[in-house]
Amino acid sequence: MTQLLKQTPQKKERALIPVLLFVLGITCLCSLAIGSAKFPLFETLDQLFKRNFSQAVLILWEIRFPRTLLGILVGATLGLAGAAMQGLLRNPLASPGVLGVSGGASFGAVLVMYTGLAKAFPLALPLGGMMGALLAIILIYIFAGMNSSVQTLILAGVAVNSFSVAATSLALNLSADPHAAIEIIFWQMGSLANRSFDHVMMALPIMLTGWVLIFWDARALRALTLGEETASTLGFHMKMVKLRLVLGTMLSVGAAVSVTGSIGFIGLVVPHILRPFVGNDPSKLLGVSAIAGAILLLWADLAVRLLSTGVELKIGVLTSMIGAPFFLMLIYKMKKDMV
């Protein structure tokens, strides 16, 4: 009996990834099937494989597939980056945005809209976002220095983020065209709608690079449970570990925000929900947070599609509407645990 009790959490851990992958699979099918245009999914998929391009097939391939794929990639990035930042900072309230790159990406995209470049060619928007994210990364490292502590990097991130927000507000302030201003505001709310495979292909390599950098140091995150000093006596080169984790988060989150706009709370909430299922192990949390992040974002996107009547409900608004009370609940629970 004692043995069985001891094994139960391990079994729970082992079952978690297959269960999450199964749920992700079902969610993907729902994401492909549900939308304003109604068509039978499996028949349409069959037609797609037979290269019989009807209107339904075109909607499935050109609209639903990129949207679902981007949902998976961005959701996974947010979940993964959230788990990585919480592990690195050893703080359950850290989120992917803590490094301030989202602000840079956001400003880059807004600048493209403000100058009208976005209308000239559609991919200017994500490209601008990525340039903004890259500029933010460079600025943060210039101010904080390559050998800085994570705390210094965060402070530099806060400063760069504040400047990006101010510059975005300036763009709104000076915008002569009210339509452009509205476009900027809506873009900032985050959305997976009207994205193509070009968006996916643009963000994918950068996101994947970020993911590899983060997963590289999964073990180091576990060692960091005992603090930086002890972790470095366990064979980890902490300067390199921090550099890879921070750069990995910046690259993947920068690419995600560039193509979808800001989507809050997923990176904060997902690691929290899953932590008890992996025995609070920060390294095991990475993979499952990525899968669950994808599931949660796809669910949010499905909710947006089902709830939108006429005016498109923005996904970032929905995640924040649900995420903010969850965050409050978390603070309340932490306060209660401390008493």
Binding site: R222, T225, L226, G227, T233, L234, D281
Partner: protein, 263 residues
């Protein structure tokens, strides 16, 4: 055989010179104690020996090789470090914390082998924490946490162990248990260095003592050579009572030396 040797090292924290021209040897088979009053640089010295803090002058050698040339992996396998305090950020199970001590022996994606599992079990048995298996580490008492951290450090199975105040927060029974264990580990062929505040334990269990005073080594040698009334007065400003039992010499800190008023 010298496992770790510091040769005339000086260590700064910011602009402050904390450790001044210190030389120290950790030999195979020896438990050495680093003692001295608060703020004399004991922890700074131990951290330098573990390559956690850089030194400005002098050199540190690990089995004859400069410490700076050793890879992170190789160093983590030969030297285990138990930090002061009980920093544990996530509520892991006790055995998972002890298992962290096996990380130096695992490659990137390698899982714990049977040999690792045996090392974890053995370390928990040596630290006498088998009964804590399955408990969440953050919910243990301060003394229990200290023993878990010791088991974690032992699980590395390195030939050098550096422990910063390993007996702080422990009751007398567990203090004796830990000191006996550390001495046995040394006598089994390792080199062990501990930072201690308890002079009675230092006198009873250490083969050799280094007494630090204002960042410098005031004196080093056997406990009887080091813990003289003159040295204790200089380093700590205390008097002590001494005795000689069958099993050796003992010392009990007794009173404070009255500072002479300047006229």
């Amino acid at each position: 055989m010298t496992l770790l040797e510091a040769k005339n090292i000086s260590v700064y924290l910011g602009d402050h010179l904390i450790v001044k021209d210190v030389s120290l040897k950790i030999q195979k088979g020896e438990l050495i104690g680093i003692i001295g009053s608060n703020g004399t640089g004991k922890t700074t010295l131990l951290k330098s020996l573990a390559r956690l803090l850089p030194f400005k002058s002098g050199d540190i050698e690990l089995s004859g090789h400069p410490l700076k040339d050793i890879t992170h992996k190789a160093l983590s396998q030969s030297l285990s470090y138990m930090a002061q305090g009980d920093t544990i950020h996530w509520p892991l199970k006790v055995e998972k914390v002890v298992a962290l001590g096996r990380l130096p022996h695992l490659s990137a994606w390698q899982q714990l082998s049977q040999q690792d599992a045996a090392a974890i079990q053995q370390s928990m048995a040596l630290a006498e924490i088998d009964h804590l298996s399955g408990r969440t580490v953050t919910k243990l008492s301060g003394g229990e946490k200290r023993l878990v951290m010791l088991a974690r450090a032992i699980a590395v199975q390195s030939n050098i162990l550096l422990a910063d105040e390993p007996v702080s927060g422990l009751d007398p029974n567990h203090q004796i248990q830990v000191m006996q264990l550390l001495r046995k580990m040394a006598e089994d062929g390792r080199g062990v260095a501990v930072v201690l505040h308890d002079l009675s334990l230092a006198a009873r269990y250490c083969h050799k003592l280094y007494l630090l005073n204002e960042g410098k080594i005031l004196v080093s040698g056997t406990p009887k050579e080091v813990l003289t009334s003159k040295n204790l007065e200089t380093a700590y400003g205390i008097t002590a009572k001494y005795g000689q039992g069958k099993e050796g010499f003992y010392v009990v800190p007794w009173g404070r030396v009255q500072k002479k008023e300047k006229v």
